[in-house]
Symmetry: C2
Subunit: 443 residues, 2 copies
């Protein structure tokens, strides 16, 4: 939908046309279209969305849009919206709203919902409890399929998913049964016979990243969440797990580029916010690089005699940094995808050692030949080629070992990415280079 046309229609009070447009649009697209409007237009447009779709659009809005709407809503409008919102979306929104609006919302919902919301808000941030929903279908084991289907017909519309149902007895989870199993089974089959007892469950304190990885590994549609006593208290659905996966990948990528990850998107983050997340690591890395500089000054005599030596510093530093970050990137990603564990450290090291020998020889020969051709100086070619070779092997070793050690120590492997490794590798490459040079040139 073209945004200019939409705004024009809205400003000309062509409400019938706006309503028709909103009727044929997907909730995600409506939320994105409305994000371009000012507050007054937003409230107008939102009221023109069909009632059945309004809650879904609202759930897909960003926080500032939600805040603006909640402020403008009448009590009746707010009550209607909250009735249609899924519990996890409500709790998501409450986490970000100003305190006065949170109070207003808690005053609007029923006592039962208020209790549920308060319980959900109390789970630790980033835990399964904080992203789960309490709206799932539970079935009794002694029902037959027809009874179960009748139950779903009654309660299903208010549940976030009905495709995985939970068989419980006194809140204890006995098994799961999928809608597919019931739809293809005969009406008189008993749920107990149909249910799957091998289940993967998480508990309310499980880290959401761990939960998301289970979704990625097993392609689940939903996963049951037990409380610490083992009672079923909610489910996490795949859409929320997808969001967590995207956020976690973004967080990894951000950390790998030496920034502190933020909660907001690029444009939502202010200039000061961006600066704040980037400066700390830059400062640390800048002062570490200064150490490399100090080492260089020790070899002042060497480059006073052979000034050309200085000109190979950028090439050695960059190549070392690139080699190290190639290795660290592959290992960090492998760890994130559960393909590489700490116990694989020897397999990794021997593989990287092999790779670094091949890479080292190719690059050293290429560079040696170039120097021979340009400078016709065998000693110089030898110094650079040998230093390059050693730098490549060492940087690949550092690059593959550090993320695994971080993992073992319970730190985030992504912190051990290119910038840190580059700085470490710099020091090594300079030491090797001048070490070799002073020997070969007998300085």
């Amino acid at each position: 939908m073209n945004r200019e046309i939409f705004t024009a229609l809205l400003q000309q009070h062509q409400y019938q046309a706006v309503r028709s447009i909103l009727n044929v649009m997907n909730a995600v697209d409506i939320a994105s279209l409305l994000s371009e409007l000012d507050n007054k237009e937003l409230a107008f447009a939102f009221r023109l969305i069909q009632k059945e779709k309004a809650a879904e659009v609202f759930a897909n809005m960003n926080n500032s849009m939600q805040t603006c709407l909640v402020e403008l809503f009448s009590d009746k409008e707010l009550r209607e919206l909250l009735e249609d919102l899924y519990m996890d979306d409500t709790v998501d929104m409450l986490g970000e709203l100003p305190a006065n609006l949170v109070t207003r919302i808690l005053d609007t919902v029923s006592q039962k919902d208020r209790d549920t919301i308060n319980r959900l808000l109390n789970y630790p941030e980033d835990s399964a409890g904080s992203i789960m929903t309490t709206e799932y279908v539970d079935l009794r084991p002694d029902w037959c399929v027809a009874e179960a289907m009748a139950h779903i017909k009654e309660v299903g519309i208010h549940k976030e998913t009905i495709y995985t149902c939970y068989v419980t007895e006194k809140k204890r989870l006995l098994g799961i049964v999928t809608a597919k199993d019931m739809m293809v089974a005969d009406d008189h089959v008993v749920i107990r016979e149909l249910m799957e007892q091998e289940m993967i469950t998480v508990n309310t304190n499980t880290d959401q990243e761990e939960v998301a990885r289970l979704f990625r590994k097993y392609d689940f549609l939903a996963i049951p969440v037990l409380d610490l006593e083992g009672f079923l208290v909610g489910i996490v659905t795949f859409d929320d797990a997808m969001d967590v996966l995207i956020d976690e990948d973004t967080e990894d990528i951000t950390k790998m580029a030496a920034m502190n990850p933020g909660e907001k998107s690029y444009f939502e983050t202010s200039i000061f916010g961006h600066a704040k997340s980037r400066i700390p690591w830059l400062l640390i890395l800048m002062f570490s690089a200064a150490i490399t500089g100090t080492i260089i000054t020790k070899y002042e005599n060497a480059f006073a005699v052979v000034p050309i030596l200085v000109s190979f510093i950028p090439m050695l530093m960059d190549t070392g940094g690139n080699c190290g970050s190639q290795s660290s990137t592959l290992i960090i990603r492998g760890i994130a995808l559960d393909e590489i564990q700490f116990r694989d450290i020897f397999r990794v090291v021997s593989k990287e050692f092999g790779v670094s020998l091949i890479v080292g020889i190719v690059l050293a020969v290429a560079n040696g030949l170039r120097i021979m051709l340009i400078y016709r100086n065998t000693a110089l070619a030898l110094v650079v080629a040998l230093s390059l070779m050693a730098t490549i092997v060492i940087s690949k070793m550092i690059g593959c070992i550090l993320p695994l050690l971080a993992k073992k120590a319970g730190l985030d492997p992504a912190l051990m990415a290119s910038p840190l490794i580059t700085t470490l590798v710099d020091t090594c490459s300079i030491l090797i280079y001048f070490g070799v040079a002073t020997r070969v040139f007998e300085l």
Copy 2:
């Protein structure tokens, strides 16, 4: 399941125990457990899996395990397996098998399946056609819910998903209806009334990455695929889209670390394979860095007079590289998540300019103070601080503009990541540094 115990039970011919263990395990976990066995054990163990679960385990195996099993299977076993495998998994496997086994499989399946397989194999690699399945539920618009549910009961078990059903007339897609809608509707409601007509579809040639992004954006369970004449020919399900997303993210991360992405996992790739994917970019970047080196030699006189100048080269280069890759990483990720478009270029540039001023001032002041404290040399502090400031601003500009230009030019933004930007920034920082130094020190 402990792998040693499992192998021991298998070697002691404790088939009953092995069977019981396999019965309670998830298909994904069984595939991963069996990957540790040798070929003979694998064939033994596979035959002990319950028939209902065998195809799913097979679909989750890696290519070498599948090849091994297909080679060892009798014709009868092969036929049974192929009957239970979903069409997209069969086609997936065929893409990787040696030619003689492909022929054997095509000889085993029915003429109808053979035609479907051949058609699916002909879609371009990485297209929606190549990852879709032809096994979906289609419904007639004039059926009532009860008729539709009866139809699903009959055909559903062989369909990859029954949660989204497709309403068609003469192969034309009229609308979609979810299992949830049908399960909560009255039996006599007509499908035409229930179906959703606003649909997002792709065609067989749509890039699989594009398809995966639709899943990420809209949280679909499945998406219909039309052929070029607009007839419904298949669906892509969310599990395949998830796999594509993971692969695409891995590919981006690999490219961002200056490697050519491969198809296989870290350990599956040979040492030569790794070396081959890493050497090309290293060579290109190494020779680019040599240009920076050549520039340095032009300023031989400068560092002959003030040798301490050389010691700040690593710090300037590293900080420039880190600043540039911070910006490029955020922009590349923003583009991948559809949060940043080319038309945002001015917003991006002005934001990054603001950030680079703040970051530049903080880092320049910190470094200036450090130099004043250690060397008590105001001119030196000024040279380093000014060069640092300029380097930071320029590297952030390069870092944010290049990925957007790449996107505009139809190239992969991930190619414009840290290594390339580091090399570019190096040259700039050296030029600025010696430019400022020769002026301030009047060299």
